[in-house]
């Protein structure tokens, strides 16, 4: 039995909105409403959903980059929520993050050597020699030259910058890397290079990924397991192949259908989703997806569906998950 690297239980995060008047009841953006999942060592866990569904809030909370309202995040058995900055600092070598925009996430005034070596400060004082060795080692493992240390970010292309960001995350030899849309800003051919790199690094170092993306094809390529989020909750999770082959939540089905397919012969019949994600600021009864769901009925407006097991290791929060799966099986 492999060990659990990340365990998130009932994570809640509500952002307070500015009050409309002195006496008005406080309002919130309900960004995370009790999210739970686990990632085993050496696995990749994908999180998908539309913008505004809470994916990035989840990443920031897992990385302990902001205050969490309630719930727990355990990384290698160690509780992260509620720890102070100084208590967290020695733990940070175990979990690192790669951000979306390789242009915004690297300081233009620092050379690559300094950028990549920065997380080592969390480990404590390392001798200069060892620092340099580790920088050179990690740069070559992401496919850059050790001689690149003296260069500045503007001398690199987007894909190479993302490699630098990955090198920076790898240098502390973390067990967990949280990657928030790491390939969305890249071109197709470069994206393929970075995706293959992420896979190779997992094979050679056994790192665990929490991988956030809106691109379902990318998630399918990289992740063992996937969770679909809608309005701050996980609506479906399971092994990638099960979930993509037989989606048990209508939202997953619609997301999969909406991806344009690059093949001859256009126009497919499908259910299109109208509207966009709304309702982050209200708390109401029933299913979060009720406004946009093609299968909605009275029960969905009364009862909030709970995440339940629909087949082994495959969970969905829908009253109609059986019908959904039957439909997927019949096609």
């Amino acid at each position: 039995m492999s060990k659990t690297v990340l365990k998130v239980t009932d994570l809640v995060r509500h952002y307070p909105l500015p009050k409309e008047s002195l006496f008005a009841a406080p309002k919130f953006v309900y960004a995370l409403n009790g999210v739970s999942f686990e990632i085993k060592e050496g696995k990749s866990f994908g999180i998908v959903g539309e913008s505004g569904c809470g994916k990035s809030t989840l990443a920031r909370n897992v990385m302990a980059l902001e205050e969490t309202d309630s719930g727990s995040v355990q990384i290698l058995g160690e509780e992260v929520v509620g720890k102070s900055f100084n208590e967290l600092r020695p733990l940070r070598q175990h979990f690192q993050m790669v951000f979306q925009d390789p242009y915004g996430s690297l300081d233009p005034h620092h050379n690559v050597g300094r950028i990549v070596a920065e997380p080592l400060a969390a480990i404590g004082n390392l001798p200069k020699r060892e620092k340099e060795e580790r920088v050179a080692e990690v740069l070559s493992s992401v496919g850059l030259k050790p001689t690149d240390v003296g260069k500045y970010p503007h001398e690199f292309s987007g894909g190479q910058r993302q490699r630098i960001a990955i090198a920076r995350a790898l240098i502390t030899r973390p067990e967990l890397i949280v990657a928030d849309e790491p390939v969305s800003a890249l071109d197709v051919s470069v994206q393929a290079q970075v995706l293959n790199l992420l896979r190779d690094l997992q094979d050679s170092f056994g790192v665990t990924y929490m991988f956030i993306s809106h691109d379902l094809a990318v998630v399918e390529y990289l992740c063992d397991e996937v969770a679909v989020m809608y309005l701050g909750s996980i609506v479906e999770k399971g092994r990638t192949e099960d979930l993509f082959a037989a989606p048990a939540h209508p939202y997953t089905g619609i997301l999969l259908d909406a991806v344009p397919k690059p093949a001859a012969g256009k126009k497919r019949d499908r259910i299109r989703l109208s509207g966009s994600v709304t309702g982050q600021t209200e708390k109401r009864n029933g299913c979060a997806f009720q406004d946009r769901c093609p299968m909605v009925d009275d029960r969905c407006k009364r009862e909030t569906p709970m995440l339940k097991e629909v087949s082994p290791d495959h969970f969905a929060a829908c009253h109609f998950s059986k019908e959904m799966m039957a439909r997927a099986a019949s096609v």
């Binding site: 539309e50 913008s51 292309s157 894909g159 071109d187 197709v188 051919s189 470069v190 994206q191 393929a192 290079q193 995706l195 293959n196 896979r199 809106h214 691109d215 379902l216 094809a217 990318v218 399918e220 390529y221 990289l222 992740c223 063992d224 990638t240 192949e241 993509f244 619609i254 997301l255 999969l256 909406a258 991806v259 344009p260 397919k261 690059p262 093949a263 001859a264 012969g265 256009k266 126009k267 497919r268 299109r272 989703l273 109208s274 966009s276």
Partner: protein, 331 residues
């Protein structure tokens, strides 16, 4: 006579390091009601082509060749004459709806602008028309939304406003430059459907520019695949996606993660990066990254060869490329 005929268009941008040849020897024929896709990675010249058509090139840009719209050459027109065509007979939708709308004017005012300028409507009539247009592009509560500022709308709605502006004078040609790149898949689906429906209703011609092969495959009649400023492959969409031929097209397609591919296969990567437009190779621009490249490719520019009706490929090693379709070129 075709609605739009571009002959041997060259665009070059003067930079401190010398001229960057953004577009070379480009030919386009677009009939009324037709949809043309331009696909390629960043730096391939697809956006520069669009800007050249609109007469919106940056100040350091120079053009040669001909852009004939109904037989009139747009390149010889004065700025004053172009102002009458731009937004009126030819309109454009940009990638980032947040930066292309003016944040300090209401969206209504921005939709009214072309109506008053090109169609000479009174303020009152233009306002009514703006509300109608907003309703047509599917913005809920148009009579209230017309007074909103861009930041009060979601990304999808902002793009709908952009479409309303582009549509306001019923142009003959609509150019959409990555109209859905910043949007979620579900919203992308809605926006593309909207554009398709409007184009059909108005009998407009559409030039759709995207890096996403899926978007192009599902929404166009004809495709140009661009690389390093030139067209490497062109033809009817079905022909191209049915018979990917040019080594670059094959590589681009293989590098793209596709739904249903699973985790077993490995993504193909095209080695190297896009060419430097200032120091272009003398022969084929794809030489440095092409697995089939020989000294012939390095020294002579390949001519477009007709594979079958209208399907043209510019490659010296066509037979080898066709042979490699099945097993994949990049190993």
């Amino acid at each position: 006579m075709a609605l739009l005929e571009v002959k041997e268009l060259d665009v070059s941008l003067s930079t401190a390091m010398g001229p960057a040849r953004a577009v070379r020897n480009l030919d386009i024929i677009l009939e009324k009601g037709q949809t043309l896709g331009i696909v390629g990675e960043s730096g391939c010249g697809k956006s520069m082509t669009a800007l050249a058509l609109m007469g919106l090139l940056p100040e350091n840009g120079t053009t040669s060749g001909e852009i004939l719209m109904n037989g009139e050459d747009l390149l010889v027109k004065s700025e004053k004459e172009m102002c009458k065509i731009r937004g009126n007979r030819m309109a454009m939708i940009f990638q980032e709806p947040m930066t292309s709308l003016n944040p300090v004017h209401t969206v209504g005012r921005q939709i009214m602008e072309p109506l008053r300028l090109h169609r000479g409507l009174s303020k009152k009539d233009a306002f009514t028309e703006a509300v109608n247009l907003m309703e047509r592009v599917g913005i809920p509560n148009p009579s209230e939304r017309v007074r909103n500022y861009p930041h009060q709308l979601s990304g999808g709605q902002r793009q709908r406003v952009m479409i309303a502006i582009a549509l306001s004078c019923s142009p003959d040609i609509l150019i959409a430059d990555e109209p859905t790149t910043a949007l979620d898949v579900t919203i992308q689906d809605q926006i593309l459907e909207l554009i398709q429906n409007l184009v059909k209703e108005e009998g407009m011609s559409l030039i759709l520019i995207s890096h996403d092969l899926g978007v192009i495959a599902e929404n166009t009649d004809k495709v140009l695949v661009m690389y390093g400023g030139t067209v490497v492959e062109s033809g009817a969409t079905d022909q191209i996606f049915g018979n990917l031929t040019h080594p670059y097209t094959q590589g681009l397609f293989a590098a793209m993660p596709k739904l249903g591919m699973g985790r077993n296969g490995r993504l193909t990567t095209i080695p190297g990066t896009v060419p430097d437009l200032i120091n272009l190779p003398t022969g084929c621009t794809f030489t440095d990254r092409c697995p089939l490249a020989t000294s012939e490719c390095r020294n002579t520019v390949p001519v477009a060869f007709s594979l079958e009706a209208a399907h043209k490929v510019s490659c010296h090693h066509l037979d080898q490329a066709i042979e490699a379709r099945g097993e994949g070129l990049y190993k």
